[in-house]
């Protein structure tokens, strides 16, 4: 059974600043979904390989020739903050201010 502590931990991994009220609400919802999904554990899958993708594709290559891409300025124009041709972000954790 998923606990409140699990939810807090997973929210941190998922970079979601869930409020206390959201954590209270989502914990039983996730528990109910996971409880339903637990029916899968009853299936014998010994020796069954996992399927990650429906097509048997391996290493799809294209010719290594230059071609036009998306314009940098157009991409940066869509960013919340940009400066000198780069995305601008707040300081990284642990850096000196």
């Amino acid at each position: 059974m998923i606990s409140r502590e699990d939810v807090v931990h997973v929210a941190r991994l998922a970079r979601l600043a869930l409020s206390d009220a959201e954590i209270e609400a989502i914990t039983p919802e996730l528990a109910a979904i996971l409880e339903h999904a637990a029916e899968l554990s009853a299936l014998d899958t010994e020796g069954v390989p996992p399927t990650a993708h429906p097509l048997p594709l391996v290493n799809v290559f294209r010719a290594d020739v230059p071609r036009p891409g998306v314009e940098r300025d157009e991409v940066l124009a869509a960013a919340p903050q940009a400066e000198d041709g780069r995305f601008r972000v707040p300081r990284i954790l642990g850096e000196a201010p």
């Binding site: 600043a17 959201e22 919340p80």
Partner: protein
């Protein structure tokens, strides 16, 4: 009016694309306030596109197989310089710097894009109630949902706002709303239609496909947009089979299996069950050999899907970090900014799926949840393979129920998820499937019957769908 008739008329100069468009825009003006099929109506752009189709016809050239056909596009496909919201606050203000491959192909085929349609946020949902911009209502009964996640596209066709629409189908998001709105909706074989420019939800399951008023029109639209695209590495490189030219080949001798586990089970409304029986009888009358078939592991499709799809989504949606596009909510450092942005920008269902997927992929739970779901996916594919040794196509309901009332399932995520129980197994297998309207069920609401086929089995699937359509009450 059917898309093929519109295209014929426009190409031959009998009608102008502009006149066709104005008729559709007039219906949008009259009913869109109630239905809310669109996040954005592109009236000016559509008029310019229609005029250029007419100019091409006037100059003696052929604008293409979809000449002048008004089409609605789900708002999770990138349109250069035109807002693409995915029904989410987190993409607020984002203008894509490129067009999705399907958009380019539709324009090249002469189609006229009338607007971007509403959807459950990032295509996560079965009712279009998870949109940040409010729900879409069912044109057959506006007190009820249009289904989802491509509810806006289904409603746009059902309401006559567009002759065709495209949506994306990860677990039934084309077929289920098509069934609930009484139109045709089809999910192609995985990799048949390019996903370049389709905002990713669950990459191993996502597939773009058509909505239409008829099976013939669905084939017309499919053939205009599918085929290899070097910009999508998962796109099928081999030539795809002809569909439109075999539609009316009939079903004599075709082996049709009705899937017991998706049809003869609790939760399927009696009228929906009766519609599948009636469609099966109609196919038998037309010369098909119809039998029951057991595809046992499809019963576990829902559980496998609700681990696999959220796991992939939790990875795909990591890109919404407040750095590159859309919303940013400030924080003291990057991690705090990321977390504040994501919590403010995503709605409850998206957060639920990100949490579920992150949990299923986290240390200590990976093998029990995600790993086991991937192995069950293999079992489902094996069961389908066995069924297709004996049958050419399979049959089931599309949705267990007719359209439900707004709000009926929003408080219970699991109940909402059950809406997709019949459509999910095909996505896990990467196979094609189509929903065909077949009469009405409870409250006189539309019912959809689903035809499933093996990978690249579209020709035989469309033949069966066309036969069902012909015999529809």
């Amino acid at each position: 009016m059917s898309a093929s008739e519109i295209a014929d008329d426009v190409r031959s100069g009998r009608r102008s694309a502009r006149d066709v468009l104005e008729e559709h825009l007039a219906r949008v003006d009259e009913h869109e306030g109630e239905i809310h099929a669109f996040n954005l109506v592109l009236a000016d752009e559509a008029r310019a596109a229609a005029d250029s189709v007419d100019a091409a016809v006037g100059a003696g050239s052929d604008p293409g197989p979809l000449a002048g056909v008004p089409i609605a596009v789900k708002d999770n496909m990138a349109t250069r310089g035109i807002a693409t919201t995915c029904g989410s606050r987190i993409l607020e203000g984002w203008l894509p710097p490129y067009d999705a491959t399907v958009i380019t192909r539709l324009r090249d085929a002469g189609a006229v894009i009338v607007g971007k349609t509403n959807l459950d946020e990032f295509a996560m949902g079965s009712s279009t109630e998870n949109s940040a911009f409010g729900p879409t209502r069912n044109p057959r009964d506006p007190s009820r949902v249009a289904g989802g996640s491509s509810g806006g596209s289904a409603a746009a066709v059902a309401a006559g706002f567009a002759s065709l629409a495209i949506g994306s189908d990860t677990g039934g998001s084309i077929r289920q709303p098509a069934a609930l709105c009484g139109v045709v909706g089809m999910k192609p074989t995985y990799g048949a239609v390019s996903r370049y420019g389709l905002v990713a939800f669950a990459s191993s399951l996502d597939q773009i496909g058509p909505f239409s008023n008829s099976v013939t029109d669905a084939a017309l639209l499919l053939e205009a947009m599918w085929g290899h695209d070097p910009l999508d590495s998962t796109s099928i490189a081999q030539p795809l089979p002809a569909v439109g030219s075999v539609l009316d080949d009939g079903v004599a001798g075709l082996r049709v299996g009705v899937i017991e586990e998706l049809t003869d089970v609790d939760g399927i409304e009696p009228e929906v069950h009766a519609a599948v029986e009636a469609a099966a009888s109609a196919l038998a009358d037309a010369g098909a050999k119809v039998d029951r078939v057991s595809v046992p592991s499809t019963m576990f499709g829902l559980s496998a899907y609700y681990l696999i799809a959220p796991a992939e989504a939790s990875s795909n949606l990591a890109r919404y970090d407040g750095v590159r596009y859309g919303l940013r909510v400030d924080g003291d450092d990057v991690a705090a900014m990321n977390a504040a942005t994501r919590n403010a920008g995503f709605g409850p269902e998206v957060k639920r799926r990100i949490m579920l997927g992150t949990y299923a992929l986290s240390a200590g739970y990976y093998d029990a949840y995600y790993g086991q779901a991937q192995r069950v996916r293999t079992l489902i594919i094996r069961d389908f393979d066995r069924a297709y040794e004996q049958f050419d196509v399979l049959l089931s309901p599309t949705s267990p129920t007719v359209a439900f009332e707004l709000g009926a399932k929003t408080a219970d995520p699991l109940a909402m998820y059950l809406s997709d129980v019949c459509t999910i197994p095909t996505n896990l297998a990467g196979h094609p499937a189509i929903s065909v309207p077949f009469g009405t069920g409870a409250y006189g609401l539309p019912v959809g019957v689903q035809v499933l086929a093996p990978a690249l089995g579209e020709p035989v699937m469309f033949r069966a769908a066309r036969a069902i359509e012909r015999s529809s009450p």
